[in-house]
């Protein structure tokens, strides 16, 4: 029985590893950080869209399924630094602080995920200059009772609870100026979820979402959007956040209210940037080490988007999850299972 190498211990890689182990394969899981769970754990996601279910309900069982399976060897704080050979016999060098080891694998699964777009690039939003302009992943950490503010929503500048909050959609997405014309696919549902969570915590706060389109295509997303408007009185303004300035310690934003055809300035206490999804260094590094194709934005390119979505440009190397492009957790789990099935059937033949 062959051994499979899985690179990346986010939800996708974890699901792939436990499915393969369940089919009787031995798996080595290589994760560069010293924890499993990927972005969900890194940014302490508290509740998941669209059901507002605690993230732990989903990610903990997926991690446990890996850690409790004796067919899976987990290498934390490790990197794959070199790969040689061809399908179905690859030799991979795995490196960590203690040293290097070499193992032989029948197949490789790449599940290296994404990184958040760094909004410092969009200078006009003032991220990095104005303390109360924060990203949506920073808000995830804030809303989590185990996070830095113990679950309280506080302005970073003075620790006060913000009364007026604006959320900017599509930051670093759908934007040729930063080279990312694609849609981040999760920003809309995540902002809607965060708006509801903020309203639940502080019912007399005002939450404004500045958007171009609310892209609510997932299971239960459109219903969540309806709930935000009807039950929580979140205000959705159709116009993209254009600029942020600081006047007398007060944040002021500019946008056009496109439905009313008028430019506006709006004073708020805090601005949340729905930062987009970019191919992370981890994914770019893996593509280099393995010699597999990337698309124009650095994400991993399938051999054929329709017909072989989980195969890379190289035989025996498979790809899955958010390293192929923006994807939500539900679909990452589907991807993890799908790639495991593909690997298993190919190794059998």
């Amino acid at each position: 029985m062959k051994t499979v190498l899985v690179i990346g211990g986010g939800v996708t890689g974890l699901k792939a590893a436990s499915e393969l182990a369940g089919m009787g394969y031995n798996v080595s899981l290589v994760e560069k950080e010293d924890y499993l769970g990927g972005q969900v754990v890194k940014h302490k996601y508290y509740k998941l869209a669209p059901d507002l279910r605690p993230a732990g309900d989903v990610i903990d069982p997926v991690i446990k399924a890996v850690e409790s399976n004796s067919n899976i060897k987990v290498h934390k704080h490790s990197r794959v630094v070199a790969v040689s050979g061809n399908a179905p016999e690859f030799k991979a060098k795995i490196k960590n602080s203690k040293g290097e080891s070499e193992e032989t694998f029948g197949a490789i699964v790449v599940a290296t995920g994404f990184e958040h777009f760094d909004p410092i690039v969009k200078q006009e939003y003032g991220y990095g200059r104005f303390k109360d302009v924060v990203t949506n992943s920073e808000v995830e950490e804030m809303l989590n009772p185990n996070g830095p503010t113990k679950g309280e929503l506080k302005r970073p500048s003075d620790g006060k609870v913000p009364k007026k909050i604006a959320i900017f959609q599509c930051v670093g997405s759908r934007d040729k100026q930063v080279g990312n014309p694609y849609c981040c696919r999760v920003g809309c549902v995540v902002s809607t979820k965060q708006a509801i969570e903020i309203k639940e915590k502080c019912p007399d706060s005002e939450v404004y979402v500045y958007y171009m389109d609310m892209r609510m295509f997932g299971r239960g997303w459109e219903e969540l959007y309806g709930k935000a408007m009807e039950d929580y009185e979140v205000i959705f303004t159709r116009g993209r956040g254009a600029e942020v300035t600081l006047k007398n310690q007060q944040l002021s934003l500019r946008a056009e209210e496109t439905v009313m055809n008028r430019p506006i300035q709006h004073s708020v206490d805090m601005i949340i940037l729905a930062a987009g999804i970019a191919a992370g260094d981890g994914t770019i590094d893996a593509a280099k080490v393995l010699g597999i194709k990337q698309n124009d934005y650095g994400f991993l390119a399938p051999k054929d988007d329709f017909l072989s979505p989980n195969e890379s440009s190289k035989a025996g190397i498979y790809i899955a999850g958010a390293d192929k492009g923006p994807l939500d957790i539900e679909n990452c789990i589907v991807e993890g299972a799908a790639v495991a099935a593909k690997v298993a059937s190919n190794l059998k033949n």
Binding site: K176, Q177, R240, A242, E243, E256, P263
Partner: protein, 244 residues
């Protein structure tokens, strides 16, 4: 549907794309580089100084060209496009890398060519006259708060004192201490400038918008011609002599 039963409200929906002005605009090389679809996101409008003070919108400019309705285009060429300050903020912020600024510039040129600009530019008659007859475009006595709705309180205060300030600043500089122009250029310089306009065809173009200004300039030139031509001749001779 027959002509008589047309609904006056929805009638516009019937496209009139592809008219003469539309075709002229689309021929300009700048359009292809300045319009790549539009998200209707309003980023351009939010950053546009003209949109903040006038009934004007760079987003509308882009949408108008995409829709291509001849009547609307004509209306814009006669009016709204002349509100743009050509600051290019729209271009450097647009997520589709559009440039309403360049579209407007192309449309202005066409509007002048097609004789649509006269009314919109009527308010600039004084400026045009000043440029053509004095060589500079703004005079201190033209700067007043009612002409500049975007001025803040500081600018208004300064403007009320501008005459005294100029007197103090330019004491002993005769060419500068004037209020009906920014500074007084020499007659010879002005004559030379006017000759360039005449010979390059620029004056003729100005004539499509301000026909009477052409007469004023030509009269102005005629008045000075004898003296100035003599001066030119004198300069030429000096130049020749220095070559020998």
């Amino acid at each position: 549907m027959s002509e008589e039963t047309k609904n006056p409200i929805t009638e516009k929906i019937e496209s009139t794309k592809g008219g003469h002005f539309y075709k002229e605009i689309m021929k300009d090389f700048r359009i292809k580089e300045s319009l790549h679809g539009c998200l209707n996101c309003g980023t351009c409008v939010a950053n546009c100084p003209a949109a903040a003070f006038y009934d004007y919108s760079p987003r509308e400019v882009c949408q108008m060209i995409i829709e291509g309705d001849e009547e609307t285009i004509e209306e814009y060429m006669k009016g709204k496009i002349w509100n743009c300050a050509q600051c290019y903020s729209c271009k450097y912020r647009c997520p589709k890398e559009n440039s309403a600024a360049d579209i407007v510039m192309a449309m202005r040129e066409i509007a002048v060519r097609e004789g649509l600009a006269a009314e919109a530019l009527a308010g600039y008659t004084r400026i045009a006259k000043l440029v053509l007859t004095r060589g500079n475009q703004l005079a201190p006595d033209m700067l007043s708060p009612d002409a500049f709705p975007d001025w803040g309180p500081r600018m208004i205060e300064l403007s009320s004192k501008k005459m005294e300030m100029r007197e103090e600043l330019f004491e002993g500089f005769p060419g500068m201490n004037v209020v009906d122009r920014a500074w007084a250029a020499e007659d010879y310089t002005i004559y030379e400038m006017q000759k360039i306009w005449e010979e390059s065809g620029a004056l003729e173009k100005v004539g499509t918008v301000f026909p009477f200004l052409v007469d004023i300039v030509q009269e102005d030139m005629e008045d000075k011609a004898e003296e100035m031509e003599a001066k030119i001749q004198e300069k030429k001779e000096k130049l020749e002599a220095s070559k020998k």
